[in-house]
């Protein structure tokens, strides 16, 4: 039981518990807090995989900006807890096993086809930020410019949508 495997299982357990808590909580603000826990656990997993820049960006952008947006909207549109309406018992009893079966199928398919990959993520080197940035600005410069344009469009769209009707 080496240290990386122990850390992996701890972080994976935190992530899965956070995701289960997202489903089971009644008030959306608690679901949002659970999702933040999942994101921080995933940032830890990225660090374990050696990509330090992606881990930092995950916390800064996802955990510090996108989830803050969610939390603000939940606090402002305070709709209260979810009501309990049971439309169909079949959906509950057949639906959850089905969803988990889908996940299992996807996972099994990927695991089976990736058995030719190197057995372990054995590179002990961290990904250099310089390497990443060289890639972004030379090979992936076209998607980079497109996503910048996409964000500009999203900002304009959000401003137009949030205006008061005069």
């Amino acid at each position: 039981m080496t240290a990386p495997i122990v850390i992996f299982f701890v972080l994976a357990a935190i992530a899965i518990l956070g995701a289960v808590s997202l489903i089971l909580q009644r008030h959306p603000i608690h679901s949002a807090l659970s999702l933040i826990v999942v994101m921080v656990a995933l940032a830890g997993l990225y660090l374990l995989l050696g990509s330090e820049f992606v881990a930092a960006v995950q916390i800064i952008v996802y955990g510090g900006a996108i989830m803050v947006l969610f939390v603000f909207v939940i606090m402002l549109l305070n709709d209260g807890e979810e009501e309990r309406t049971n439309f169909s018992k079949l959906a509950t009893f057949a639906g959850i096993p089905l969803a988990l079966a889908i996940a299992g199928l996807i996972g099994a398919a990927i695991v089976h086809s990736s058995s030719s990959l190197p057995v372990a993520t054995a590179n002990a080197t961290l990904t250099n930020t310089k390497q990443l940035s060289l890639l972004i600005f030379t090979e992936f410069v076209y998607p980079f410019e497109l996503t910048s344009f996409l964000i500009l469009v999203a900002i304009l769209g959000a401003i137009v949508l949030a205006q008061r009707e005069n």
């Binding site: 995701a19 289960v20 995933l42 990225y46 990509s51 992606v54 996972g107 993520t121």
Partner: protein, 100 residues
């Protein structure tokens, strides 16, 4: 070190939990958060494969996925705020008629 398969299985489990949350929750914002959870699961798979193959291309793609998720969250929440103002409820089961 940790085998790549472990990360992929974790990613599949998180994706499945995201699907379960998407189907079973009734608050529109919680459903949106389930979409974010699914995107995160996919990001984890990207980074794991990028490390296994030794190239940083997967991590670059993760950055793009994060950016797209941010743009989608901003516009999506704007639309949600507008519809919630009109219908006065965030429950998706109450939004089953075209008429308000």
């Amino acid at each position: 070190m940790v085998p790549t398969n472990y990360y992929v299985i974790l990613s599949a489990i998180l994706f499945g939990l995201g699907i379960v949350a998407f189907i079973f929750k009734r608050n529109i914002i919680t459903i949106f958060m389930a979409i974010e959870l699914m995107l995160n699961a996919v990001n984890l798979a990207f980074v794991a494969f990028s490390r296994a193959l030794g190239k940083p291309d997967g991590e670059v793609f993760v950055l793009f996925v994060i950016v797209v998720a941010a743009a989608e969250a901003a516009v999506g929440l704007g639309i949600i705020i507008l519809t919630a103002r009109n219908r006065r409820s965030l429950n998706v089961e109450r939004a089953n008629l075209l008429k308000l």
